[in-house]
Amino acid sequence: MSHKSNSLKQLALQKFKKNFWGVFSFFFIVLIGFISIFAYVFAPDDSQYANQMHLAIHSKKPGYNVTMLTMPSKIKVKQNSFDKLFFGRKNTDTEIPISEYAIKDDVLVYKEYASDGLEGAEKTVELNIFPNNSPKDFIQEKTFLFGTDKYGRDLLSRVLVGARISFFIGFVAVLISLLIGIFMGSVSGYFGGKVDAVIMWIINVTWSIPTLLLVIAITLALGKGFWQVFIAVGLTMWVEVARVVRGQIISTKEMQYVTAARALGYNDFRIITKHILPNIMAPVIVISAANFAAAILIESGLSFLGIGAQPPMASWGAMIKDHYNYIILGKPYLAIIPGLCIMSLVMAFMLIGNALRDALDVKS
């Protein structure tokens, strides 16, 4: 006997599955999420923040190839594999792009790479700094799939690692906005009266200050940095959640199941959390998807202005800031690649938000 279940959740899920862009965006977001968690596994440059600079080969075209000599450092950093996997290798080695090399007796002679047809300086290094006196493993061909940025860092790695900030800020900001927003919204909507008036006033005040400027003010007050931005964005976005929750609660609290719960003598906390909130989650979910997108946009904007994530941390907005002057120097991809990344991630969240709105039948 087949069991046909028709719960609201399942109906919504069925509807969601039929929405091509929604499903597409879902898998896209899962993919980006996976990449951002394991960024250092995928990144060709797995040093911390993908920050291995080679000034000699700055701003090279995508697919650029060079022979790279790695000078092993005497300082050995102890790092456990978990740390290395998730936060990148703490790198003390120096990488030198070279154009040619030869081994003579017990020294390695190499010519430093120089662009624009210039002759690089010839240098020698004793072979005994390499393990087993063999530099073979330390001289490798390196390909930069997306080219290099203005400090000669691998752009692909920076992009991959940069996905983290965008993703993470979405999570933190949405979490903070949900915690504050649901609390304020439900208290305000459920109790009404003076509490409502005060909370509405706070909402209106926050609402009247443009988000970007409020975030800037909070960031300045807390000090530049990436946690500060997370908190600042969360502290401004709760307003929308609170408004929606309040509106929903006001219309729900007169419903019979709430009256029934009250008649059974349940306390307010239980009525709000167990009876009302589960019934008004649909619009909150939709708003959260939109907030996720908005948070990514705001973070990229702040980083673009230089008050978001601070260097050497990789952030898409900061990458555009560093490179938008290069678009007239014939290297527009340096700014366009991170820009496309921001756009596609934001768009995925918007599309998933739209699909959820249709599936959950929420009126905008």
């Binding site: 006033w201 706070i202 209106n204 005040v205 926050t206 009247s208 200050i209 443009p210 988000t211 970007l212 400027l213 409020l214 800037i216 003010a217 909070i218 300045l220 007050a221 000090g223 997108a293 946009l297 990229s300 904007g301 673009f304 202005l305 008050i307 907005g317 555009i320 938008y324 678009i327 007239i328 527009p332 700014a335 366009i336 820009g339 921001i342 756009m343 596609s344 934001v346 768009m347 918007m350 599309l351 739209n354 905008s364």
Partner: protein, 358 residues
């Protein structure tokens, strides 16, 4: 009606006091000594003490807050003692004296936004009056583009619901909402101002007023408005398209549209006379929302196109930590926002007679 308006205005004032409080306390917990910021590299301790005294930085934060409120309030109280911060020194407030009581004078004045840190002695109100009109021109042009194009594309999208035309417009409008404004500004400046410069004759950067070739006269250059206005209009345009489409689709289901069809009116007449006006309400309500996103966008757009507006001024002030300018800008924007909200409420009442004044 009068009562309704008074109520609204009272609430708006209450909101503004909240905004002032938030802004003041956020900026007063800022690490760093504001007096030192004003002095720059100069670290003469005597002068520092004078500056601190002059601007009231030597007082506790709550007193400074009261001073700030007093400076901003149109009706304010001032001490006759020249040692006090509130002393009516010449040319500071441009006040009109109302009456004196004992040691304090009550005056009527324009809100005093203090002086810029970075531009020695320049009033914030002066800075704002130089930049705000440019931003206003930019914002109005952008909104104009957004409304005209948005309503048109929204109608087209609703008429061809679920056809490829509708789907294309939908995807494009989601696209428009997803693109960070600084990124679209960079792309437009590059593409139309640089790559296609020969054909468009547009520049990558430029403001509304530019010095002529001899560096003598300021000339208005409308040409420079085109790119920033389009870029700033992208996001509101995307929003208007969505709102217009959805609200038209709802209107199409109404009885009066069926009646109009039954009467044998042409499709064009139905849309023009019956559907569009009724579908406009949500678009009007959203104006206040766009205004906020508009100003946020303006910060980036002005910065990239070098447009001499409030947004660019804010970025400059951020780099020099020119707190009075930042605070003044935020306050002015919040005030505008609150005023526009009242205006939108009134327009809404006028558009939809069903809404009662309460």
């Amino acid at each position: 009606m009068i009562n309704y308006l008074l109520n609204k205005i009272f609430y708006a004032l209450l909101t503004l006091i909240g905004v002032i409080t938030v802004i003041f306390f956020l900026f007063s917990v800022l690490p760093g000594d504001p007096a030192q910021m004003m002095m720059g590299q100069n670290d003469d301790s005597k002068q520092l003490a004078i500056v601190k005294k002059k601007y009231g930085f030597d007082k506790p934060v709550t007193t400074q807050y009261l001073y700030y409120l007093n400076d901003l309030s149109p009706i304010s109280f001032h001490s006759n003692n020249s040692e006090d911060y509130t002393f009516l020194s010449k040319g500071k407030y441009n006040e009109a004296s109302l009456f004196s009581l004992g040691n304090t004078t009550t005056v009527l004045k324009k809100p005093y936004l203090r002086e810029s840190f970075a531009k020695q002695g320049k009033r914030v109100s002066q800075v704002l009056s130089e930049t705000l009109p440019n931003t206003f021109v930019l914002a109005v042009s952008a909104i104009f583009i957004a409304i005209v194009l948005g309503i048109l594309l929204g109608i087209v999208s609703a008429l061809y619901k679920d056809k490829w035309l509708d789907k294309t417009i939908q995807i494009l409008s989601t696209f428009g909402m997803s693109i960070p404004s600084f990124f679209s500004a960079i792309l437009f400046a590059w593409f139309f101002g640089y790559l296609l410069h020969e054909y468009t004759n547009l520049e990558m950067t430029g403001s509304l007023y530019e010095l002529d070739d001899f560096g003598e006269d300021m000339h208005i250059k409308w040409k420079n408005l085109i790119l920033p206005a389009i870029v700033l209009g992208i996001r509101p345009l995307a929003v208007v398209i969505q709102l217009m489409r959805n609200s038209l689709l709802e209107v199409f289901n109404q009885d009066y549209i069926r009646t109009a069809r039954a009467k044998g009116l042409s499709e064009f007449q139905i849309i023009k006379k019956h559907a569009v006006k009724n579908a406009l309400n949500p678009v009007v309500t959203a104006i206040s929302g766009w205004f906020a996103s508009m100003l946020a966008g303006a910060v980036f757009v002005e910065y990239i196109f070098g447009w001499n507006g409030l947004g660019k001024e804010i970025v400059n002030a951020l780099n020099t930590l020119d707190l009075p300018v930042i605070m003044g800008s935020v306050l002015v924007i919040a005030t505008l926002f609150v005023m526009i909200n009242i205006l939108v409420d009134l327009i809404y009442v006028w558009l939809d007679p069903k809404v009662k004044l309460e």
